[in-house]
Amino acid sequence: MDTTYVLDIYLPVVFAVFLAAFTLYIIRIVKGPSVVDMALAVDCLAFDLAVFIGLLTLYFRTPFLIIGAIALALWAYILDIYIAKYFVRREVGE
């Protein structure tokens, strides 16, 4: 089933909503009063970028973009764990 003509109309609307959400997350990253706030916002931004890559895969019809989404999800988790470990132990373990 060819769904190109539905996706070509519908996905730009979803892109607009996601870009508005990205702007709000970036406001929190720049403003954030403490480091944990910034880490939380970067976390959300990375997970949403993973979704955005998936949507771009559908829009441009290039299947191998989706592999980047998996790496992005794991990267955000590593950032969380390192910041949490630094605050608890005051060191970054190896």
Binding site: F18, A20, I27, A41, T57, P63, F87
Partner: protein, 132 residues
């Protein structure tokens, strides 16, 4: 018959993507508007589980019936499902670790506070260590 099932799956996928976009915008608004870190954790979880896991499942459904992607549409569907499950496991663990670290290191004040059992437990433990 098969065509009808494909349309059904496609529309369910689009609905999931729409729910994800709305949850994402709500989570981002909450992250900007909420007053302190421990309240913002709630908005962040709306933004990750509602705004990232659900649309990834939608992307998997939509790509599984989109024949314009060719045989690689199963690559997109599988990658989206794997990413969705990873985020579903990883996002609560990460935000929990951040909350625990922020509480333990006292980076942010626990402001509207009624009862803080973790703090009391740590105080009691420190007192017992002093006695010994």
């Amino acid at each position: 018959m098969f065509e009808v099932i494909e349309w059904f799956v496609f529309i369910i996928g689009l609905i999931l993507i729409t729910i994800g976009a709305i949850c994402d915008l709500a989570g981002a608004l909450g992250l900007v508007r909420f007053p302190n870190f421990f309240v913002r954790l709630h908005a962040a979880t709306v933004g990750t589980i509602g705004g990232a896991v659900i649309p990834l499942f939608g992307i998997a459904l939509v790509s599984a019936v989109s024949s314009q992607l060719g045989p690689f549409r199963w690559t997109v569907a599988g990658g989206a499902v794997i990413a969705a499950f990873l985020i579903m496991i990883v996002a609560p663990a990460g935000s929990h670790a951040l909350a625990y670290a922020a509480h333990k290191a006292k980076v942010v004040p626990v402001e509207p506070k009624v009862c803080d059992l973790l703090e009391e437990h740590e105080k009691r433990k420190a007192k017992e260590a002093e006695k010994k």
